[in-house]
Homo-oligomer: 309 residues x 4
C-alpha cells in the first residue's frame, strides 16, 4: 500500500475567491472536502471536453431552496445538454417563473397552524397555497393549447411549458433547445393537473416515447458526463440510459445527502455504478456526501471561475 | 410544558417475542426506538380499521435485500389495498419470481472486477448479469402478448406481468386484484425493455391514465392510511393522491434512512405533510429514521403478532 | 469475484421470537439488517468464549432513553468485564438510581418555555431540573466520605458511587466488582460536582492512574471482545487500550448512528481499526449503522435467547 | 404563521469571493446552506464583540484532514480565547509539528495490508506508523522535564507541550497564552504515553484542577460565544462550563455531521441547549449539519473577509 501526496493544512486568505478555497480543499484532500475538490476537477474536465454530452440530474427540493438559479445559469451558458428532473422541481420552477415566491420560514413550527393559514412547508421554506392557484391556471391554459387526441412525449410537454414562460429552468431549457426529461411527471403537481385536464380534455402523454431520442443520443455520443444533484429518479434514469449502449459515462459527479449503507441507489457510490457498466471502469467519478445547498454553489462557482479564465 | 409518562428502563427476557420487545421500546419511548413503537401502534390501528384504505409505498432497494417477502405476505393477508413501487423493486421482484437469485456480497470490493465477471452490485448484494437475460426474455414475451396499437395504463402493464408469474409481489398483487402503481416505470429495467419493444412492436403506455382510478378511490375512501418504506416517488405519489380530495390520510408511518434537514421530501417529517393537507391535522403519524431492513421486519412482525391474536 | 449465499426473502411468523426474527435477517443478509444479524453471531461467540475479556463501551444518551436497563442486566448476568462510559450516562444512571425519573416529551417544542419551567430536554426526553438537586446532594455526600488529601483513580470514584446506590449500572457494576472507566469524567455533571467539592474539600482525582489496571488486563487477557454503543471516548479508549500490547481485539461489534465518510472515529468502520492493530487482522467485527435504541435491544434479546438455551 | 423574506435564486459570478458566495447562500436561505449563512453572521458578530470570550471546540479527526491550519490561524489572529480539543486532534497536531505528515489514501482498501505495511488509516487519510515513534520520543522527553512528584493540570501539560513545538495548534496557543483544555486526554496517544511515563517517572495529572480557571473565566466573562466543530467532549465541556454561572452563551455555532434524532449530545440542536440554560434564551445560535471539512473553511474564510475589511 502506498501513500499519496501529503495532506496540506488549509490556509485561508481574507477575500480569497471560491476557487482559491477549492484549491485549498484539494491540498487538504480528505473526507468530503477532498471529494468536493475532486468533483471540481472532474466537472471542469467534463465541461471543457467538447466531445462529452453533458447530463444534469436534479432531485431534492432544490428550486424552493434557491438552487434553481444555478441550473438556469448552467443552461444559459451551454453547460447542460440533457436535463432530467423530478416533477416537483419543475413545479416549483414554474411557480417562481409565474412570479410567485417561496419564503423563509421555520422547520420547527405548528404544521396544523400553517395548514389553517394556507401555507405549505418544505423544511424551513414556506410556500403560500395561492401559488398553486396561479400554477393551476397556467397549466390548464397550456394544456388547452395542445391538439386534442394527440399523444405527447413528456419532453414535449415540458418544452411547451417552457416556451410559455420567460425565465427559470424550463424557460431557459426551451430557449436553448435542451430537452427536459421528467420520467416521474405523474408524481408531481404537474401530473395532477394533467390528470385533471384529461377528465374533460383529450390529450395523452406517453410514458416511453421520449426515451428513443435519449438512447439515440447515448448511442451517438462520443463521450458522456453527468452532474447529479441528489439521487432519486434523475440519477438512475441518467445512468441507465447508457445501459443500452456499449459505453458508459466517462465523467460523473454526485452531490447527495444520502448514504450508501442503506442500499438505495440515491446514496450508492458511483463505484457501484461501474459494476453495472453505467459508468466506465476508468471513469473520473466521485460522490460528495452533504447538503447540495452548500456543495452545489461551491462546486459551480469554483468551476465557472476556472473555465471563465 | 408538561412531562409525559416516565421512561422505563428496557427489560429483556430471553425468548421474548418481537411484540414483547416492541412493548419494551414503547415503555422506553425515546428517539427512534420510541418512534418505532408508536409506528407499531399506528400500523395496528390502521390495519384493523375496516374503513381505512391501506396504501403501501415501496422505495429503496428492498427486494434485493430480502424485504420483498414481507410485502408479498402483507398482500396475501389482505393488508395492502394499493401498492406504489419504484420500477427497480418490481424489476428485482420479477427476477426473483423467475428463479434468478440475488447473492450475499461485499460493499468493499473492486467494481471493475465485478464488471469483468458480469456481476452487478447493490451495496453488499450481488446480482449476476445473466438474470437480466432471463428478465429480458420474460418481458419481451409478455409485451408481445399485448394488443398492438392499444394504449395501456401502467397499472395494467403491472397486472399483466403479475399474472404471468407465480410468486412474489407482482404475482400476489395480481392474484388479489391489488393495483400496483409505478409512476416512474420508465426509470427502470422494465422501462428500458418497454422502449426496446416499442422499437418494433406497437404498444403505448399512458403516463396518466391510471391516476383516475386512484383519485376516485381517494374520493370514495372513508379513511386512508399509508405505510411508506423509504421516500422517493412512492411516498409523494401516495401522499399527493389525497390532494385532489377534501380529506387527507388518517394514518401514516414512514420508515426512512433519509433526514429532514436536507429539505428533500424523502426525508421530510410527516408533520410537514400536515401543512399541505396530505395528512389530516389530527392524523396518527410518525417517521422512524433508520435502515428499513431492520425497522420493517420488526414493525410488521410485531403488528402481525398483535392482530393475529 | 464470487457470490455468497443467496438472499432469502424474509418470512415473518406472528408471535415469532426476537432471535427467530434475527435469523430471518441473517438469511436476507443485506445492508444494516444483515450487519445486525452478523453482530448477533459475533456477540454470541464473544459472550460464550470463556477466554475472552468482555468490554462494553457506552456513549450516546442511552440511559435517558431507557437503555440503561440492558446494561445493568448484562452486568448482572456476568457479560461485561470492563465498562467504559461517558460521564453523562453515569450521571443519568445515578439520577434514576436515586428515584428521579426521565419523562416522555417532544422534540419540537419551545426550549425557552422548557427553561422557564425548569425542564431539561434530551431530544424527546424531558428531565425536570430538580433531579439535579437530588443528584448534587448525593454526590457531595459521597465525596465528603473520601479521605481528604488522597488521590483517587476515576474507577475508584465510580466504584464508591456505585456502592452507595442500590440499582442501576454503577450499583450493579460495583456489586459485581466490574470496573467502570470514565476517562472524560470532567466532562459531565459528576465532574462539575467534583470541581465544586474541591473548592472546599481536598480530594484529588488522577487522570491516568487507573489506566495501569486496564493495560495490565489487556496484557494478560488471552482474548478480548468489545460491544461498542455509539462512538466517542468509550470506543477509542477501549480500542486503544490494546495498542500497548502485542495483540488486538478478536471480537468487536459497534452500533452507531454516525457515518464513516466524515472521518471521525465515532463513525469509522471497524475495518479501519485493523490498520491500527486495535483489532486483529482476522477479528470477527462488524459495524451496524442505526439508532441504538432499536439495534441494542434487538441484538441483546436475540443473543440472550441463544445463550440461555 | 408569517412568511419571512422571499427565497432568492442563487446567482453565481465567476471569480466571486467566498463571502460573496456566502451572501448568496444567505439570500437563498434554506436548509443547511441557509444555516451556514446564518452561522457566518453569528460568528462575525461573535468575533467582533469585544465583550465576548471566544471558545473553540475541536472534535472529529480534523487535523489529519488539514483543518488544523484554520485553528492555528484563528489562534494567531486572536480569535480564540479558550480551546477545548479531543486528545486525538492534539496528538495529530504534535505529529505534524514534529515534521511527520499525513497522506492522501483511499477509504476502500485492505486494512490488513495497511497493517502489514505499518500504515494507520483515518478514513481516506494514511499515517505511517513511524510518526508515532517520533511522537513517543517527543512526549517522553517532554514529560521527563517535569518536576517529579508534582501534580499538573491537563492545561499545564498542554501548554508545556506547546512551548516545545514551533508551529501548529499547541504551539500557537502556547505562544498566545491561550489555554488548551483536553478533558479526555487519557483517551488519546498522549494519554497512553503519559501512562507509559508514569510507570517509571513520577508525575501526576489531576483530572479536575484546571476546571477552576475555566469556571472563574465563565463567571467573570461579560458575554461568551462558542464555535463548535463536531460534538463529543469539547461541545459538552464548553457548554456545561456555563452551568455553574447565572449566564449562558450568547453566541453559538456548531458544525456537525451528526443528527439530532439519535438523542446524543453531539447531534443535538443548540435549541436543546437553551432548555438547560447552557445558552441563553435569546442567544444567536445555529447548527449546520454537514462535513466540517467543507463548512469550516467556508465559514472562516467568509468571516475573515468581513472582519478584515
Amino acid at each position: 500500500m502506498e501513500c499519496g501526496d501529503p495532506v496540506e493544512q488549509v490556509s485561508l486568505r481574507p477575500g480569497m475567491s471560491v476557487d482559491e478555497l477549492m484549491r485549498q480543499l484539494a491540498r487538504a484532500g480528505a473526507y468530503n472536502g477532498g471529494a468536493l475538490a475532486r468533483a471540481a476537477d472532474i466537472y471542469e474536465r467534463m465541461l471543457t471536453d467538447r466531445n462529452a454530452v453533458k447530463f444534469f440530474g436534479l432531485a431534492g427540493a432544490m428550486v424552493p431552496a434557491g438552487m434553481g438559479g444555478i441550473v438556469s445559469d448552467l443552461l444559459s451558458r451551454g453547460h447542460i445538454d440533457v436535463l432530467v428532473s423530478t416533477g416537483a422541481n419543475l413545479t416549483h420552477d414554474i411557480i417562481e417563473a409565474l412570479g410567485c415566491r417561496h419564503y423563509h420560514g421555520s422547520a420547527c413550527c405548528s404544521d396544523v397552524e400553517l395548514r389553517q393559514d394556507e401555507i405549505n412547508r418544505i423544511y424551513d421554506v414556506y410556500l403560500p397555497n395561492d401559488a398553486f392557484i396561479t400554477f393551476e391556471g397556467f397549466i390548464q391554459d397550456a394544456l388547452a393549447s395542445l391538439d386534442p387526441g394527440r399523444s405527447y412525449p413528456i419532453t414535449g410537454l415540458m418544452a411547451m411549458l417552457g416556451q410559455r414562460l420567460d425565465h427559470g429552468i424550463l424557460s431557459t431549457a426551451a430557449g436553448k433547445g435542451v430537452p427536459v426529461y421528467c420520467p416521474a411527471v405523474a408524481d408531481s403537481m404537474i401530473g395532477l393537473q394533467c390528470w385533471l385536464f384529461s377528465q374533460s380534455g383529450k390529450i395523452s402523454v406517453d410514458a416511453f416515447s421520449d426515451m428513443k431520442d435519449l438512447i439515440d443520443l447515448c448511442f451517438t455520443a462520443k463521450k458522456a458526463g453527468a452532474l447529479l444533484i441528489g439521487g432519486g429518479v434523475p440519477k438512475n434514469f441518467i445512468l441507465q440510459s447508457m445501459l443500452m449502449t456499449p459505453q458508459g459515462f466517462s465523467y460523473a459527479v454526485q452531490l447527495t445527502g444520502d448514504r450508501p449503507d442503506l442500499g438505495g441507489l440515491s446514496g450508492a457510490t458511483l463505484d457501484e455504478a461501474r459494476s453495472w457498466g453505467k459508468i466506465t471502469g476508468d471513469a473520473a467519478a466521485v460522490t460528495v456526501y452533504g447538503d447540495a445547498t452548500i456543495t452545489l454553489p461551491m462546486l459551480v462557482a469554483a468551476v465557472l471561475e476556472r473555465i471563465a479564465r
